[in-house]
């Protein structure tokens, strides 16, 4: 119970194509997160699944049943909206019970389900309050409660935590993870937030302009992004991209020249010429600030640095004007204007062809399951 299949789903509003040919299989108990920049169609895709929008073409199946033309109420999905969309004039109890009442569920059953959901979400003391008399986090829990009581095939969340403050967001994020573990229900979740995506999902869908650029586990996306867009989108701070030139290739990969520095990268460069212009990508956390590691180095002038306590971000301006973000230990000695070298390990580097596609890695990262 709880698989969702999207088959060539497209959606256009008038002339604009908002979702283009998305194919996606969501397995039972999956926690799938849609991420992407603003306007990339995350909400629209979720609303297509919910039935709040009609597809322009393609097919949507839930548990193998074609629901493309089924109205939202009969898809047996529950949605948690960004604004919570609680009914302001109803008590918490009635908010949660509304869907069941509409389904003409037995009174005693409703009572029991609402109480159970309230217990799970620690809302028991607030059942008779109006939403206006609740804090943001409590309202969010009511919205989730309203979804839980209906015992849906799948939960749909559209940026549910974006209205909460940072501390509460962390707490609710854990709460949602806990709920997913406890209930084991299929969940589709839209977010802007890197950390939510990485921590909650077992599969992430990265959307750009309505196209699913990559679908995979969080670590697969982190370690093996299929193109430069995904590489830049996953991970924070974002990956550094440096212009490079392809050098000689052998069985262990290919060397990439960044200025005068030769970096051996373990990727398959077949189909690419020596001397071709590519882009080398390396994450800030993979650049090494500790002195003589024997690795190739890049050097530049410290432009700015940010101390976050545990770590320090250093922004190095390289000789060709590129700015490199480097993650360094929190207690590193650094001054603006310093010249510094950072070690660059080819094992953590990605190479992107001019069209943005990643050159395939020769070895998969051990944690990067599909």
């Amino acid at each position: 119970m709880g698989s969702i299949t999207l088959n060539g789903v497209s959606k256009a509003f008038g002339e604009t194509n908002v979702i283009r040919d998305v194919n996606l299989t969501i397995e039972e108990r999956d926690f799938v997160v849609f991420v992407g920049p603003s306007g990339s169609g995350k909400s629209t895709l979720l609303r297509l699944v919910a039935g709040l929008e009609d597809v322009t073409s393609g097919r949507i199946e839930i548990d193998g049943r074609d629901v493309t033309a089924t109205p939202p109420a009969r898809r047996n999905l529950a949605m948690v909206f960004q604004s919570y969309a609680l009914y302001p004039h109803m008590s918490v109890r009635n908010n949660m019970a509304f869907g069941l009442k509409m389904a003409k569920e037995d009174k005693a059953v409703i009572e029991q389900k609402v109480n159970e959901a309230a217990r799970i979400l620690e809302l028991t003391d607030y059942l008779d309050r109006r939403p206006a008399a609740l804090s943001g986090g409590q309202r969010q829990r009511v919205a989730i409660g309203r979804a839980i009581v209906r015992d849906p095939t799948a939960f749909l969340f559209d940026e549910p935590l974006s209205n909460l403050d940072a501390a509460l967001r962390v707490q609710m994020r854990l709460e949602i993870a806990r709920l997913h573990q406890a209930l084991g229900a299929t969940t589709v979740y839209v977010t802007h937030d890197q950390i939510e995506a990485m921590t909650l999902a077992n599969r992430i869908v990265v959307l750009r302009d309505g196209v699913a650029e990559q679908v995979g586990s969080p670590l697969a996306l982190y370690h093996h992004p299929v193109n430069r867009f995904v590489a830049g989108f996953i991970g924070s701070p974002t990956m550094n991209f440096l212009p490079a030139t392809l050098g000689a290739a052998d069985d262990n990969g290919v060397s990439a020249w960044v200025g005068d520095t030769e970096v051996p990268v373990a990727v398959d460069a077949s189909g690419h010429e020596e001397g071709e212009a590519v882009t080398l990508g390396i994450r800030p956390e993979h650049l090494l600030t500790s002195g003589d590691s024997g690795l190739p180095t890049l050097s530049g002038e410290v432009q700015v640095f940010e101390r976050l306590g545990g770590i320090t971000y250093i922004y190095l301006r390289l000789s060709d004007g590129e700015v490199l973000t480097v993650e360094a230990p929190g207690d590193i000695a650094v001054k603006v204007g310093d010249r510094r070298s950072v070690g660059i390990d080819g094992i953590n580097c990605h190479l992107f062809a001019p069209d943005g596609q990643t050159l395939p890695a020769l070895r998969r990262h051990p944690l990067a399951t599909e």
Partner: protein, 291 residues
């Protein structure tokens, strides 16, 4: 010192308007009360004597008073019900997207800008006239007996005319309220499987409660003193079948030339209006406190 200075400026700045307002209210009210305590007949200019509460006793004991009071309540109540019920219905329709929506909205609102006297006359001569009126023509074309509105159904006629004028007002306020209904709430209800009727009952109606309260309170203020529509159509008749309190007071003063009695009626009307207002505010004003 600073505070009292500030206060002084504040008092100084507001006092002209407060004084104006007081004069505006207190002088007519005071004069009315003053007249109501005197025997003051326009036909006997010489006699002007203090009679205490005699005018009140006379007015309250007049069988026409209870009749006028009843007519007033029926008029106010019916118009409120008609405007709220149809106002909600029309607002719901106008809130649907359709071609020519903007024009339709303006058309629906426009009756409110027509003077009561003018609308009374239009209804009387163009629509409800038993011989040449549109309604009679329509009924005759359906080979029905035309209704002699103002003779046979005087109060109903007045109610229709007044309701026609106030319906747009109610519609406008309710439509504005409808448009403020959160889109995600509608979708949440849709996901919850609410069909149109439960959706209306459980989501829309509670959402409109506040707007309905406002409509009722504002309309009531004006409906208690309906005059022009009666004046130009039935003149309170036949007999006193369509005489409300406002019209009865007018008759007392200017048809029977009894200023003292009319003033007493005016004071009684003010008191009654306040009683009804307090009652209504208590009853539905609760909606305003909620949320």
């Amino acid at each position: 010192m600073a505070i009292s200075r500030e206060r002084l400026v504040g008092v100084g700045a507001t006092s002209p308007s407060v004084v104006m307002l007081l004069l505006w209210m207190v002088v007519p009210l005071g004069m009315t009360i003053w007249f109501s305590l005197h025997r003051y007949l326009l036909l006997q200019p010489g006699s002007y004597t203090l009679v205490g509460l005699e005018n009140y006793a006379y007015f309250l004991q007049d069988p026409a008073f209870l009749n006028a009071l009843w007519n007033t309540l029926v008029l106010v109540g019916s118009v409120l019900i008609i405007t709220v019920v149809f106002g909600v219905a029309i607002a719901l329709l106008l809130n649907q997207p359709f071609w020519g929506q903007g024009i339709a909205r303006i058309l629906a609102i426009s009756p409110f800008f027509i003077m009561p006297t003018a609308s009374g006359l239009i209804w009387k001569n163009l629509l409800m006239d038993p011989n040449s009126g549109f309604i009679s023509w329509a009924m005759k074309s359906l080979s029905l007996e035309p209704i002699v509105w103002f003779s046979n159904w005087p109060l109903l006629s007045i109610i229709l005319i007044v309701a026609w004028r106030w319906l747009p007002f109610a519609t406008l306020i309710l439509l504005t309220a409808l448009q403020s209904l959160d889109e995600e709430q509608r979708e949440a209800a849709q996901m919850d499987g609410a069909r149109p009727i439960p959706y209306f009952l459980y989501i829309i109606l509670p959402h409109l409660a506040r707007a309905i309260t406002v409509v009722v309170l504002i309309e009531m203020i004006f409906l208690l003193v309906v005059f022009a529509e009666i004046f130009v159509t039935t003149s309170g008749g036949p007999g006193s079948e369509s005489t409300n309190l406002a019209f009865m007071i007018y008759k007392q003063a200017l048809l029977q030339f009894d200023v003292g009695g009319a003033s007493a009626g005016g004071v009684i009307a003010v008191v009654l209006a306040n009683i009804i207002a307090i009652f209504l505010v208590r009853l539905i004003g609760k909606n305003l406190d909620e949320e």
